[in-house]
Point group: C2
């Protein structure tokens, strides 16, 4: 088992339907990859802080944060790195920030497949 | 050839790097699916309005808008439907709004693959 923990980081929202979509999106990862969790940057729980502290309490000291964002804006360029730096400082954990999922070419392929399905479905209606 | 036009709708940003990521994300779709374009909801060009009007000028009257959003928040529940209604009214075109890409199970699979790759890469470093 990998001793590192994967944290899928979503923005968060006070709208539960928004969070539900992210939880569904995270499900295949959470089911397949041991020691993986979802966390929210703001407006929803569990927060990044909560998930890192719970991981540490369970014996994990190395975290990889994978942002469930399509592109990097101010949040991923400034706010999240600052949150991570503060958490590393206060907990002693090592937390690595990955690029947002949308920067991976696999996402572009998935978008193409979704659009192809969408065209087939609307043609059939 | 499909007479309908696909519009990949991204939020838009004044940060060109943000738009560049979306253009890369859209590329496989734009290359594969004829009559497909990217448009921005706000803060960047081309706007949805521009793309629909150019499509109409080129003879297209049926549009399918596929939001490059992971989940539906206020923009997709309120702002975009209102923009589409106004555009349909002013142009006579038929514009169908699809669910955001993040609601398709293909995206959850892609996220899992991205995370798996990320774990392999960071283990190898």
């Amino acid at each position: 088992m990998d001793s590192r923990s994967i944290i899928l980081l979503a923005h968060g929202s006070s709208d539960q339907r928004w969070c539900d979509t992210f939880e569904t999106l995270a499900e295949p990862t959470l089911k397949t990859i041991s020691n993986s969790r979802i966390a929210y940057m703001e407006l929803a729980e569990p927060s990044l802080d909560t998930v890192v502290r719970e991981g540490i309490a369970a014996g994990t000291h190395e975290f990889i944060v994978v942002p469930l964002f399509l592109a990097a804006g101010r949040h991923l360029r400034k706010d999240v790195p600052a949150m991570i730096e503060a958490l590393e400082h206060s907990t002693g954990a090592s937390i690595q920030l990955s690029p947002p999922i949308g920067e991976n070419p696999l996402l572009g392929q998935a978008v193409k497949e979704v659009v192809t399905l969408q065209l087939d479905q609307t043609a059939a209606e």
